[in-house]
């Protein structure tokens, strides 16, 4: 079966929330048929890798199968949180889009369920990934 590599945002959407020095990021399948792919590929380890430069002390994944959604909780990734961080975005509101850039592999049979344009089938360069 042929497959293609696409950024996660083709298969899912998400939102960041924050409390203190902890960030939570939801990942929600665009279509129920894409849900098993997300569960298989968007693991705690891969998410921890995507946020390595933020040095999370812990990454926890919670699954919500009825919603075809997962909730990632990243501890200590906000440089102290809204009152301590020097980041312009001290809440980390933009972080969902870093997670949504994660490459995943999707079988051709599920192609019709992907969001967005086909022109992005090949991964864009990822200038912000650490070597």
């Amino acid at each position: 079966m042929t497959s293609r590599t696409v950024p996660l945002y083709r298969a899912a959407h998400g939102r960041t929330g924050d409390k203190g020095n902890r960030s939570n990021i939801s990942v929600i399948a665009w279509h129920p048929a894409l849900w098993p792919i997300l569960v298989e590929q968007v693991s705690e380890a891969r998410v921890a890798g995507q946020f390595a430069h933020r040095r999370p002390s812990r990454v926890t994944r919670y699954l919500l199968p009825n919603l075809q959604a997962m909730n990632f909780v990243l501890d200590d990734v906000l440089d102290g949180g809204v009152n301590d961080a020097l980041n312009l975005d001290s809440h980390g509101k933009a972080l969902a889009f870093l997670l949504l850039d994660l490459p995943i592999t999707v079988p051709e049979t599920l192609r019709q369920h992907l969001a967005g344009a086909d022109a992005t089938d090949l991964l864009p360069a990822e200038p912000w990934r650490l070597a």
Partner: protein, 457 residues
Amino acid sequence: MPSVTAPLRIGCAAGFSGDRTDAASPVVDALVAAGGPSFLIFETLAERTLALAQLVRRTDPEHGYEPLLDELLRPVLACCLANRIRIVSNFGAANPRGAARRIAALAVELGLAAPRIAVVEGDDVGAAVQRPLLRDALGASADLDGVMETMVCANAYLGADAIADALVAGADIVVTGRVADPSLTVGPALAHFGWRRDDWDRIARATMAGHLLECGAQVTGGYYADPGYKDVAGMATLGYPIAELDAEGHCTLTKPAGTGGTIDVHTVKEQLLYEVHDPAAYLTPDVVADLSEARVVELGPDRVRIEGVRGHPRPATLKVNVFCEQGWLAEGEISYAGPRAEARARLAAQVLRERLAALAPLRVDLIGVASILGDDGGAWLSAQPRGDARDVRLRVAALHDDKSIAERLPREVTALYTCGPAGGGGVRTGLRQRLSTRSCFIPRDRVPARFAMMEVA
């Protein structure tokens, strides 16, 4: 089983202090058109907002409540009172009684009969008599004496009980300080349906309805739109949400007809998980809500029903946020444009690092290259290959306990005009006292929440 009673409608017209102030009128119009029992809530109290309000109250004892109170209420107060739409809000912030007095005065200005206004109190646990309790709860913090000395405020997250009691006692308007955001919705539901205060499933459902309402437009297309992926029509006129609750607490979410934005399963799922950690244990003062088996069902355009929420007994403790004045945050920005702009911005950053060694570590951002996803330590920026961006704004930021050292940063950024790389322009600087925060938990029986009905003057 369908309920024979009319649904309770709760509209939300603000999701934070600083939200759009023209959101309420379409919500109130929709509540009037629907008829039946209804409430209007405003959620205006983010974590930091209360500490900032407390600082305002220090300099002006009559203020310290939501600064946009008039703008929020003036357009809808008469209509709400005339149609028995009761108002519940945490816009009391650091001064619920001050807010209540202002609302009473506003009613007089508008020529309205005096509304019955209740204030909910007890959240402020920063008073001297409660200091020992607070010290115990903060525990073996490294700098406990420093915390107590520099404390701006300490407030417990109260639940819905006192709100419900005030409504049962006949309040038209309930003004609170710090309460858990969903409690603004749970209070009206408890008062209207008369649920037992340990009816955990129903309270959990109302809590999640409140959770979906409490950020206003975040469930109707705000904080959601992403062109080409999540297109939202009418972003400039987003409708704010209305929850329809049945006697079981089940919630259908909708918004006023004719407004912009959208409510579908995707907007609702995103907001359902917003600021949630373990979905099986969403902790509030009213209940531990379990949304691990929740489902969302699209009933029609801009109508989504939430099912499958369960509840467990509420926690024995209440969360308290303690804010302290601790150190100074200094920031400065300068722009470079045209050929070699990025190289000039990087050179400026290097000059500042050398000049501001006393303020190390300095946060450095190259806006237009890398400024948001990175870390304060700079690992991310260091990993970026040097490019040739032609429109770059350098931003630097640092913290220091000593104001006289912190204020060197804005001065040095300004000095780049004449001492920095060629063509630097548009300097902006800022220096403000930092509010640090920590959280602790105290037994709920040590924080007696209560309401008081304001006397009509």
